[in-house]
Amino acid sequence: MEGLGLEPYAAVIKWSLAQKQPLKFWQELIAEFLEQLGQACAADEKRVLGHIKCLARFPAGRHLRGSKISLSYPAEVEMKGQETTKYADIKLTLNVLVYGLPHDEAHRTVEKVGFALAAKRQGKMELLSVSYPDDRQHDHHDHEHDHDHDHTQEEY
């Protein structure tokens, strides 16, 4: 990882389906999304998965919290709330932290994986917002802490 930059990428995405589905369904969809996203983001063996994490919140404190940290272990999605509650759409906040992955590639990968999973279920995905830092990278491992910069946020 030495020398690999970290370009944090964040997005808010929305999946919509024709019919309401229980949280369990969405839990499985998110797990599949994180799994495929992790595999795709770290397909280049020079890259290292830091953390891909996401959160979907629902009324009354319910949530789905997902995490993918390694290609060697499956993505996990923790569910808080009743499994039987049904929703036709969910909004997911996503953070992609992969060393060596440029943010524009992270963006393309999120789109590709997310749209494909939605299509597979006859649904649709929208990217509600996307944000990433500017072209200055983070490298927290061998620097001397002499950079002090702001980030910009871009809305697609």
Partner: protein, 199 residues
Amino acid sequence: MHLLMITGFLGSGKTTVALQLASACIQQGRKIAILVNEIGEVGIDGELMRELEVNVYEMANGCICCTLAGDLVPTLEKLDQEYDVDLVLMEPSGAAEPGSILNLLQYYKGRPLESVSTAAVLDPLRLRELYEVVTPLITKQIKNADLLLINKADAATEEQLQDVYRIVEEVKPEARYFLVSAREGLGNELLKEILPWKD
């Protein structure tokens, strides 16, 4: 006001540990605030922590050991002035170098901190892999910790745990550590050890 910093690499389980600690403090009737730092632009951990109904201060879009370093001390001073909290739980980003954060505390001008302690969360499932590719950061996280929490102990193999012990022995042989499965709780013994009050 005490300060407890929970460090550890990305995905090691810092947020889960912080949530468990926060819940324990609330149950003990303590007033706490959480200062959470995320390197990503959209905070996720802070959203989860707010469900506990405690004061959560989120510093996103950078790292408090460098890019957001200038914001840390003013935030702590604000906490000191505006809230009479017993404990500030600080969760830096997983890419943060704890030594740099501790150095920043010399500029803090609020009421004297009663204690400053650091617990590092280690993930045995991938510590060996990470240690080989990001040695300086992992080393600093272990060296700067007063206590190590070897998390995900329920999922780790004996070989993986032995690997962690070897790395800890190499970096900080005198380190004190606990095996935990933070999702399942932290246990009274660890809570007594890690929380600053002894009553």
